[in-house]
Structures are given as C-alpha cells and as structure tokens.
C-alpha cells in the first residue's frame, strides 16, 4: 500500500488531544482507516481488510463520521460539480456561465478558415 504514502501525522503531541480512544481498535488504527477509505469504498480491499475496516468503523464514532462525510463529499461533487446541468445556477449566474459567446464561435470559425487557406 505504498501508493497511499499518506502524510505522516508527524504527531505534534503538543497540539493533540487524547479523546480516550484506544489507539488500535480491532487491528487497524484510525490513520489506517483514513488511508484505506477510498479502497474500501471502491470495494478493492480484500475480505480480511474489509472486515477489519468495518469492525473498526463500527466501534469508532470519529472514523464513522469521517467516512460518512467523505461519502457525502464525493456525492456532492458528483451532483453539484457541473454548473451547466444546474438550471438554478444559470439563472443566478447567467452572465458567468451562460450560453457560449457568439464571439467565441466566430473566432473558431475564422481560425478554421485560416487553416483552410494555408492548405
């Protein structure tokens, strides 16, 4: 899993807080849960790791909440990312993301004619 060379949480003990959680809950640390999250959601963890992941998340609320927020984030990107599919945004920001300017179309057609002229 060297692909996931996660930033080392270089452990600033000075600013850290101890929430009283066990550092390892069923074999995986919270950091490992964070690392493996995308693979878990892609169903690319092997069965053993998947079980460990689910067991940890089942007993560790911060990791569960992190996972839920991560999933919601992916969903928000997928459902809100394309402004051109957002009718209401067009109304509000019609100027910014309205129909493509006719000037652009004309410029493209002119540039193409220039290419044809060279040929």
């Amino acid at each position: 899993m060297s692909e996931h060379d996660h930033p080392k949480g270089d452990g600033h003990p000075s600013c850290g807080h101890d929430y009283g959680l066990k550092m390892k809950v069923h074999g995986l640390t919270c950091q490992e849960i964070s690392q493996f999250m995308m693979d878990y959601l892609d169903s690319s963890l092997d069965d053993g790791a998947k079980d460990e992941f689910e067991r940890h998340v089942g007993v560790c609320p911060p990791c569960l909440h992190y996972l839920d927020g991560y999933k919601d984030t992916v969903e928000l990107v997928r459902r809100c990312g394309k402004v051109e599919l957002d009718a209401e945004a067009k109304k509000v920001h019609g100027e910014k993301h309205g129909p493509p300017p006719e000037g652009l179309i004309m410029a493209i057609l002119a540039a193409k004619q220039a290419i044809d002229g060279q040929a």
Binding site: G16, C63, A107, A111
Partner: protein
C-alpha cells in the same frame, strides 16, 4: 461522460461527421455550435478563467478538425471532443501551474486529517448535521460546493475534476496526466479529504462555527 444533446435543430453527429469528411464547410460550424457549450464548461472547470478556457476550446476544435481522420466512426463525437479539450486544457494548466508547484504540498497537508504517532486522529470528527440530499437541493449550497472545489490545491484539484466530475476512469486520467494510476488514486483521495475538510468548514456542517 455524457454530453448533453444540443437543444436547437442542429444536425446529428453522424451527419456532421459525414459532412466534415466530404469537406462541407457548414459541417464544421454545425459541430462547433452543437458542442461548444459542453466543451467550454469542461475547459472552465479545469482552467477557471474564461479567456484561457475560450483559447482552449478554440484550440480543441482546430485539433479535432486537423485530426478528423483519427476519429473512429463508432465513437461518439461528443466523447471524442471531450477528450481533446481535456487534453488541451491540461497542457495549458501544466504550463500555468509548473511555475508555482513549490509549496503545494504544504497547502494540501493543511486540509488532510492529522494523526498522532500512535495512529489516533488529532480531531474528533463529528457527524454532519445536514445530509447530502438536503445540501444538493439548495442552489446556494451547490454554488458553494463548486467554489470550494476550486480551493482544493493543485495538482489534486485537477484529478478530482477529471475523476469525479468529468467521470474519466483511473487509467484514462493517468494517461492524460502522464502519471501512474497509483498516483491518480493518491491524489484523488487527498483531494476528496481536503474537500471534505473545506466543505465541513464552509457549510458549517458540524454545527461548530
């Protein structure tokens, strides 16, 4: 990566391609009018600047025109053009971003979860107080999401846009960016984590201002 079909009575892609191949000058204009909107949206998403986006769109159409013989009849014209404009936009983005590549690591790290040496989180993550469905239903929130995506540092933002918005797969994204598939995965995961953190703050999702 569906391209929304043009609303006006433009000729369909098959007749546009046939017209282009037979040298009908009206076919090029028909192609531009049918596809300029979606292509400009893609270029804007990647370049975040209207002037650069328009330049990229123009270059993409000219590239397509020049390499029409490489268009396979069984592919969709919109999909082919999408790939071309992504390529052009990425080239421009690379040039623009290479100058300020230093310091980005610091930027993304600030948005990633931090852990103690024992693997324990430094923050106690809270449940979000509003669900995704409700957030998506608000136009204002959708706008915040798009603006927040723009705040994810490069080169992570580009991978997020290509994978989660343009819906390219890991292999295609790796090829377009000239990086390994494993690097695409790392960047996507970091981008999503950074965005999760940014959205939680922007939308005050834990009830803590």
């Amino acid at each position: 990566m569906d391209t929304p079909s043009p609303s006006s009575q433009t000729p369909d892609d098959a007749s546009i391609v046939a017209g282009l191949r037979s040298g009908d000058p009206r076919a090029f204009e028909a192609m531009v009018r049918a596809h300029v909107g979606p292509l400009r949206a893609v270029a804007l998403r990647l370049l975040r600047n209207e002037e650069d986006a328009d330049d990229a769109v123009q270059e993409a159409f000219l590239n397509a025109y020049r390499s029409l013989d490489r268009f396979r009849g069984d592919a969709r014209l919109g999909t082919w053009l999408h790939r071309i404009v992504v390529n052009v936009a990425l080239g421009r983005l690379r040039k623009r971003e290479s100058a300020k590549r230093d310091g980005e690591q610091v930027q993304i790290d600030a948005h990633l979860p931090q852990f103690h040496e024992n693997g324990m989180s430094q923050r106690f993550h809270q449940r979000w107080t509003v669900g995704a469905d409700e957030l998506v239903s608000r136009a204002e929130t959708r706008e915040v999401v798009r603006n927040t995506i723009d705040k994810v540092p490069e080169p992570y933002r580009t991978v997020l846009v290509l994978r989660d918005i343009e819906e390219l797969d890991t292999a295609e994204t790796a090829e377009l960016l000239g990086i390994k598939p494993g690097t695409v995965k790392v960047r996507l995961h970091r981008a999503r984590q950074a965005l999760r953190n940014l959205l939680e703050r922007e939308l005050e999702l834990t009830g803590e201002a």
